[in-house]
Every structure is written in structure tokens, then in C-alpha cells.
């Protein structure tokens, strides 16, 4: 069984494996980060850690509309990443076999595959691409 | 295997404090007693590796209980707890076979250091 957190942005339905997610944050005030490029909204105080918030809809080229203040915190060994999204749905328990047969997708960058679930299609994010994009964003801003 | 400790003190506060310190130090608190008489009874039942014993207690003092326990088990490891200004009692307890002593107010690391070296 694989657990997937579905969330929406720009009208699309996306998903991340729960194993990649540290936590989901509601309503954390986003603080101003001077000189931050478009795509970074600012930073939040997460249990005393200062973490920049990535505007995920903007990363995916969606119009920046009114946003429900939901944030997904991802973490790996080196860093942590806060993704601002529109809405977060409740966790799905998906048969591992089903998750494996994710349909590959060609036209959408940053999406690792498509998962059909009860008549809806969940676009599973590719974390590698996401990290790479964000690294690029920061490098462009820096020296 | 963690060491098994019996805590004897008539004050709940001190028992809680010692329990916390010793548990943080990886020890298992197998019992608590609030007077000297209970201490001896519990010792017989539980056969702990170590006893922390308050000196001034109702129903048999800590020193009396220490003597009773040593009569049951002459290798019993008893550490007495005293307050400042009870030095003559500490002397008495050590002469009666207490393995070490701690003086209130005590610091966690002192307590653990003493307990560990007595258990060693």
C-alpha cells in the first residue's frame, strides 16, 4: 500500500508520495524575503527553522490566483522545501501495484507520471525535476 | 539490561525528581517507598541493584532501614540522600555501610555519576 497526498493547484490535481512529505502546514504567515525571485514567496518559521516557500503553481506556469494558505513541507537529507499549493485533499491509500502502473507522460515537465484514481487523474510530481528547477531558480538569482 | 533501582523518600516531589533523573540515566525504577519500613519490605520483594535512601523519614529512619537491609544482604548497594547540615548523619550512614551519599539540593549529573560508580 502506498499513501499519496493529492493536492490541487491551478485547477489541476497533483500528488506526492507521503514518504516524501514532512508535514502539511496551514496558515503559517509568509515573511518577506528581500530580493527573492518570482517563484519564491518568502519564508516561514517552521518550528524555529527558517524555510523559503516555493510558489508551486507559478513554477508550473499556472496563473497566480487567490491561494488557500496550504503548504506542503518536503525534506531530504540536505534541505527542506516548502511548497505553497491551492488545496490539499485527504490522503489516499493506493495499492502499490496500481501506483506502479503510473502512466508515463511526455508533455508535462515536472510530472513523473499519471495515476488514474476513481475517475480522476493525479499528476505525480517528479521531485528530482522540482529540486533541479529550484536550484536553477536560486542560481539565476545568485552569482 | 538496565539497573533496577528502589527509591526511598517521604516526599513525592523528591521521588519524582529522582525517578526522572535515574530514568534519564537509563535506569529502571522498580519501586518507591515512602518510609524506612516500606523500604525494607520492598527490598526483600524486589531485590534491587541499588537503593536511594532518604535519611530523615517517618517509621524507621533511613539509617535504620539501611542497617536492616544490610542485615538481609550485606552487599546491598544503598546510597543515602541527605540535606545540607546533616553531615554527622551522613557519617553515620557511611559507617553503617552506605555505598555513597548525595546531598540535596542535588544536580542530575552528580546523582548519575555517583549512582553509576556505585553500580560499576
Amino acid at each position: 500500500m502506498i499513501q499519496i497526498l493529492p493536492f490541487t493547484m491551478g485547477g489541476g490535481l497533483y500528488g506526492l508520495s507521503l514518504t516524501d512529505i514532512q508535514e502539511v502546514v496551514d496558515d503559517a504567515p509568509i515573511h518577506y524575503l528581500p530580493g527573492a525571485p518570482v517563484g519564491i514567496l518568502g519564508a516561514i518559521n517552521l518550528h524555529g527553522r527558517i524555510l523559503p516557500v516555493v510558489d508551486l503553481p507559478a513554477q508550473f506556469g499556472h496563473d497566480v490566483g487567490p491561494r488557500a494558505e496550504r503548504m506542503i513541507v518536503l525534506s531530504n537529507a540536505k534541505s527542506a522545501l516548502v511548497l505553497a499549493v491551492d488545496t490539499v485533499r485527504s490522503v489516499l491509500n493506493v495499492e502499490a501495484a496500481l501506483a506502479e502502473v503510473c502512466r508515463p507522460v511526455a508533455d508535462q515537465e515536472g510530472v513523473a507520471g499519471l495515476l488514474d484514481w476513481k475517475g480522476e487523474t493525479i499528476r505525480m510530481l517528479s521531485l528530482e525535476v522540482l529540486w533541479e528547477d529550484i536550484r536553477h531558480l536560486c542560481e539565476m538569482s545568485g552569482g | 539490561m538496565s539497573s533496577r533501582v528502589l527509591i526511598v523518600d517521604d516526599a513525592q516531589f523528591m521521588r519524582d525528581l529522582l525517578r526522572d533523573i535515574l530514568e534519564q540515566g537509563g535506569m529502571e525504577i522498580v519501586g518507591e517507598a515512602e518510609n524506612g519500613r516500606q523500604a525494607v519490605e520492598q527490598y526483600k520483594l524486589l531485590n534491587p541493584d541499588l537503593v536511594t535512601m532518604d535519611i530523615v523519614m517517618p517509621l524507621r529512619s533511613g539509617i535504620e532501614a539501611l542497617i536492616d537491609i544490610r542485615a538481609i544482604d550485606d552487599a546491598a548497594k544503598v546510597i543515602v540522600c541527605s540535606a545540607l547540615g546533616q553531615e554527622s548523619m551522613v557519617n553515620e550512614a557511611v559507617s553503617a555501610g552506605a555505598k555513597d551519599f548525595i546531598v540535596k539540593p542535588f544536580q542530575a549529573d552528580d546523582v548519575l555519576n555517583i549512582v553509576r560508580r556505585v553500580l560499576a
Binding site: 504567515p29 515573511h31 518577506y32 524575503l33 528581500p34 530580493g35 527573492a36 525571485p37 519564491i40 519564508a43 518559521n45 524555529g48 527553522r49 527558517i50 524555510l51 523559503p52 540536505k78 534541505s79 527542506a80 529550484i134 536550484r135 536560486c138 542560481e139 538569482s141 545568485g142 552569482g143 | 539490561m1 516531589f13 519524582d16 525528581l17 526522572d20 533523573i21 534519564q24 519490605e41 527490598y43 526483600k44 520483594l45 531485590n47 541493584d49 538481609i72 544482604d73 552487599a75 541527605s82 553531615e87 551522613v90 557519617n91 550512614a93 557511611v94 559507617s95 555505598k99 555513597d100 551519599f101 546531598v103 539540593p105 542530575a108 549529573d109 552528580d110 555519576n113 553509576r116 560499576a120
Partner: protein
């Protein structure tokens, strides 16, 4: 008390311990140095002894006691010999026999014969130690402490000529010192090691005949940290202090809990005061843990200088003093490359043929100074002025009024270089501008002293620790921002009529000097103009020039712990890191210079 109701429990538990022991004995036979195994055996014997004694089965208690004692020696030695294992196996068999008798409600058999048959430990050579022991001043009940310690020594061997005597100690009195002769098999080192776990002992001195060694006790291992590995070796003394503090925090927690339960405001207040003190202490200890000697970054310099001399045929002596002085590891990390650059500069451009480069590290109350000094050709302020003028880095008038001391600092301007050709070893990569901004980002400062043909001295002043800095808080377009106070020359409220125009540039006068005004709103890309009544101005240095930075208003000072953003966000321009304020808000330390560089 009727113990019979515990009999079945006693029987089953003793059986369990016996099973344990036989399994352990086999394991220990295969691995005689299995300390844990020996310890476990000891505990099993101890448990059996205690239970048997409580139940009044004296033969079994004596037998278990004998096994426990017998094991104690091997426990000390950390290893066990085959003869002993045989004896222990026989002993456990015997206990089983006794147990069977007890289970059958028959009297215990006599086991004393077995105990006399125990194999004897070999005789060890005897040493005679004349010892003198002193307790620490703050030890409570010192008489009782000495009594206990003498108990420990008596286990190590024979005690003689003890003063004060046991009787005198038992009688009470404030004895803090004791002397005695200890005869036994243990070496001095072993005795010292055994006494190590008694922090109550201030000093233990040996006056062994023929022993010339000075009394050495509790010498701490020098930390050998490397910056490259992300790990720090920590002095055990520091760790002990942490445990100390944790204990005190625990006690305070209890006191607070009790005070809260009893609604005792005075106690609560005291508890909170104590908590504040402890947290402050904890913080300073953590900072201490981050301290590393400057030698971690100067260590490679002799080799660098030697190699440089090889390649350019110079004869240069490098002298380093004070490298044992400690600094926060993050400061050292940031200073490593700049320091290398300064030394290379001295070798490449300072000294012509032969000379000396000195690195002196000095420590003041709150700062560490690194002085990099060479006895080379020095610098000519006049030349520097002209050069900066030619490069358009300073204006005509500015060049005229600039003092010599200020002219020397010009080499730190971006785009300024004292040699035209890019030297193979320095000048490339890190220039003086980068060195200076690295130092300033750490909250430090850099000063250049030189005269023509009289050498160059670069003084880098660094805070001991970057972790906590004082910041000035201010707002701009409704956003909260901060700047290290060390970067702020002064703050000023400027009424609108004091703002002058020089061409397109807004300027103002400060102590006879005309400074340009920069709008932070503009720099940050906020378009909305601000109300013109009066301007809040931060006077600071940008690209080596004094400027006035216009913000909306000031919001006070605070001490904060500045954290860098995690990678890859640490690459972002505009900030040197952020801090969490007391109310949970996050404020970023503004780096105006990097923003302007980006916009150029």
C-alpha cells in the same frame, strides 16, 4: 512476615537465573573477554543471592554470594579463565541441587566445602604507593566522602599509615585531606584511573620512592577538529556541563510545575528567572562547543608560502603567533580563503625579494584580531588615489580631500587592483573587495596600514562568534527587514527640506560631507512612493562609500541568532540569512550591496 507465599515465585525466578547463567557461561567460555557476559553473570548471581537471602535460604544465599564475589575479580579484569568457568558451572549445578531440595521442602544441604575449593588468583607483584589525597573545597560532608574513598582504596590493596584514621573520620570534623600507604598489585596509572570517576577529588599525589613524575591529573585531550568534516569533537568536560545543565533544567521544570500547581507566583517568578539563567548558560556552552583554534586555518599556510617561494624564487619567512586562539567554526570556515589570499598578496606583491610575513592573532574581550603584516614595499596613498581616479571609482574632489589612511582602503573597492597583470597566484578569484566583504559579512572589519617602502599591515577584526548579533530592525513598504548594527554607521531622521539634489541624485549633508541618498523601496522594486514628511536614513558604507539608505521607519534593536538559509536557497542574493524574532516573526538580514550588484 510470611515468606512462604513467595516461594513458588522464588523457585521459578531462580530457575530462570540459573538457565541464564549456564547459557552465559558457555558463551563466555568461547569469548573470555565478553565483558557484558561477565557482567550479566554477576547480576544473575547477585539476584539469586538477594532472593535466597530474603527467603531465608542461607546456604543458597552464601553460595550465590560466593559466586558473585568470585565473579567480581573477573569483572574487574574484564576477562575470565577456563578454570573459573569450570568452578562457576559446578557452582550453578550446586545451586540447582539446593533448589531441588528447597522445592521438595527439605532442608538445604551444606555447601561450604565447595566454596573452599575455589581456584585462587595468582599472586601479583606488590607495589607500595604513598598517597596524598585532597578533596575539592566545595565537597559536602568531606569526612564521609573520605570514609567512602578509603573504602574504595582498601579494595585496591592494604592500607597503612593512614592519617586521619578511620576512627577520626567517623568521629566527624572537616577533614579534607588524607594520606596513607597503599600496598597492592595495582599500578599508579590504574589507581589514577579508578579515582577518575570521583570528581570530588581535587588532587591525588603520589610520592612513590624513585618516582620523579610530576603529578598529572585530568589532563584534557586537545581537540583536533577539522573544518572539512561536518563533525566536531567535543571535550568531555563540555559534555559533562551539558548533562549538568540538563539536570538543572529538569529540577527547574519540577519547581515550575509545583509552583504552577500551587499557584505560587513568587516561586513561578523565581523558577522562570532560574530558567532564563540556565538557557543563557546552555547557549554559551553550545557556542563554546563551536570554538576552534585559528590554527585550523593557518595550518596550511607555511606550506603555501614555501610552494610560492619555490615558484617565484623569493625568500620569505612566515611567522605565526597566537594560532591557539579560538574562534567560532563558521567564522573560521568563512575566513579560510580570505586569509589565504591576504598571505598570497603579501608574498606576491608585498615582498620583492626576501622578507618576513607575520600573522599575529590577538584576542580582546569580544573580538579576535588577525594581523597580516609584511616588511615589503608597502603602498603609496598618492598612487592609489590617482589610480582610483583614473578608474572612475572616485570623483575629482573626493580624491583631493581623501586622507592617506582612507586612500589605502581604496584597494578594497571592486575593480581596483594594485597590479595590472593578473598574477598567477593572487588577484584572480578573490580580490581585496571580496576579502573585505567576507569579513564584513561576519560582522568584522578590515583595515589597511601601509606606507611606501615600509611594509603593509592588514588588520582583520572579527567577532568571537557570529551566532548572536545585534540588528537594527526597520520597515520598508510594510516589510520588516534588518541589518547588523555593525554595518550601520548611524541612523538619522531627515526632514524633507534637508534633502538636496545634485543632478538626478538626491543627497544630504552629514558633518560637512555630502552623501547620496538611496531609496530602499526602489532597490527592492516597490513602486509606491513614500510620504515625504521626514526620511528614516541609515548611514552605511556601500562599495566603499558612505551613503544614506532611505527606509520607511526604524523598529528598534534586537539580539538575534542569524541562520543561513538551507541550500540551494543560500545562493539567493539580497540576504545574508534570517532570524526568528521573539514573537515568531522571521526577519531577513538585508544585503544591499549584493542586490545592487545584481541590478548593475
Amino acid at each position: 512476615m510470611d515468606m512462604s507465599k513467595y516461594k513458588s515465585m522464588f523457585l521459578s525466578e531462580t530457575e530462570e537465573h540459573l538457565r541464564n547463567m549456564s547459557a552465559l557461561l558457555v558463551a563466555v567460555e568461547n569469548d573470555p573477554a565478553d565483558r557484558d557476559g561477565i557482567d550479566a553473570l554477576f547480576r544473575d548471581a547477585h539476584s539469586i543471592k538477594g532472593m535466597a537471602a530474603s527467603m531465608g535460604y542461607t546456604q543458597m544465599a552464601d553460595l550465590a554470594h560466593h559466586l558473585e564475589d568470585f565473579l567480581a575479580d573477573f569483572r574487574k579484569a574484564g576477562t575470565i579463565d577456563p578454570a573459573a568457568i569450570d568452578h562457576l558451572l559446578q557452582g550453578t549445578d550446586l545451586i540447582e541441587e539446593v533448589l531441588a531440595e528447597i522445592a521438595a521442602d527439605r532442608p538445604e544441604p551444606d555447601v561450604s566445602a565447595f566454596m573452599f575449593a575455589a581456584p585462587q588468583a595468582e599472586d601479583a607483584p606488590q607495589n607500595e604507593h604513598r598517597l596524598r589525597l585532597t578533596l575539592r573545597e566545595n565537597v559536602v560532608a568531606p569526612g564521609a566522602r573520605l570514609l567512602l574513598l578509603m573504602g574504595v582504596f582498601s579494595e585496591m590493596g592494604q592500607i597503612a599509615a593512614q592519617r586521619p584514621s578511620m576512627e577520626e573520620l567517623k568521629a566527624g570534623g572537616a577533614h579534607r585531606k588524607i594520606q596513607f600507604v597503599l600496598t597492592g598489585s595495582l599500578s599508579r596509572a590504574t589507581i589514577e584511573e579508578k579515582v577518575q570517576c570521583y570528581p570530588e577529588v581535587a588532587e591525588l599525589s603520589f610520592s612513590d620512592p624513585g618516582d620523579e613524575r610530576a603529578p598529572e591529573r585530568r589532563k584534557q585531550d586537545r581537540r583536533q577538529n577539522s573544518l572539512a568534516s561536518g563533525t566536531v569533537r567535543v571535550d568531555t568536560v563540555l559534555l559533562d556541563r551539558f548533562i549538568n545543565l540538563t539536570g538543572e533544567l529538569l529540577t527547574t521544570r519540577y519547581a515550575l510545575k509545583t509552583a504552577l500547581k500551587e499557584q505560587d507566583l513568587r516561586e513561578l517568578g523565581e523558577g522562570l528567572g532560574q530558567l532564563e539563567k540556565l538557557v543563557g548558560n546552555l547557549h554559551s556552552q553550545v557556542l563554546k562547543m563551536r570554538m576552534m583554534p585559528v590554527s585550523t586555518v593557518t595550518g596550511r599556510l607555511p606550506r603555501v608560502v614555501r610552494d610560492l617561494c619555490r615558484s617565484n624564487g623569493k625568500e620569505i619567512e612566515l611567522k605565526i603567533s597566537g594560532a591557539g586562539i579560538e574562534l567560532d567554526r563558521s567564522i573560521l570556515e568563512e575566513m579560510s580563503d580570505p586569509l589565504m589570499h591576504l598571505v598570497r598578496n603579501a608574498v606576491d606583491h608585498g615582498i620583492e625579494r626576501s622578507g618576513t610575513v607575520c600573522i599575529d592573532v590577538l584576542r580582546t574581550r569580544s573580538h579576535v584580531q588577525l594581523r597580516i603584516e609584511d616588511d615589503g614595499r608597502g603602498m603609496d596613498p598618492q598612487l592609489l588615489r590617482r589610480r582610483a581616479r583614473e578608474k572612475g571609482l572616485i570623483g575629482e574632489r573626493q580624491a583631493e580631500v581623501m586622507r592617506d589612511a582612507d586612500a589605502l582602503q581604496l584597494i578594497c573597492l571592486p575593480g581596483f587592483s594594485t597590479v595590472d597583470r593578473v598574477s598567477e597566484t593572487s588577484g584572480r578569484g578573490v580580490g581585496m573587495d571580496v576579502v573585505r566583504s567576507a569579513v564584513e559579512n561576519l560582522g568584522g572589519s578590515l583595515l589597511i596600514d601601509a606606507a611606501p617602502q615600509a611594509g603593509t599591515r592588514i588588520t582583520v577584526t572579527l567577532p568571537l562568534s557570529v551566532a548572536i548579533i545585534k540588528i537594527l530592525l526597520f520597515e520598508c513598504a510594510g516589510k520588516l527587514l534588518a541589518m547588523p548594527l555593525s554595518r550601520v554607521i548611524q541612523t538619522q531622521l531627515l526632514s524633507a527640506d534637508k534633502v538636496l539634489r545634485r543632478g538626478k541624485q538626491r543627497v544630504f549633508e552629514l558633518k560637512g560631507e555630502t552623501l547620496p541618498l538611496l531609496s530602499l523601496r526602489k532597490i527592492l522594486g516597490f513602486s509606491s512612493p513614500q510620504g515625504p514628511t521626514s526620511l528614516a536614513v541609515i548611514v552605511m558604507e556601500l562599495f566603499g562609500r558612505r551613503v544614506g539608505l532611505v527606509v520607511d521607519h526604524f523598529c528598534g534593536h534586537q539580539d538575534v541568532f542569524v541562520k543561513k538559509l538551507p541550500p540551494p536557497f543560500d545562493r539567493l542574493r539580497g540576504t545574508g540569512g534570517g532570524a526568528v524574532l521573539g514573537d515568531g516573526r522571521v526577519v531577513f538580514i538585508l544585503d544591499v550591496q549584493s542586490l545592487l550588484e545584481q541590478q548593475r
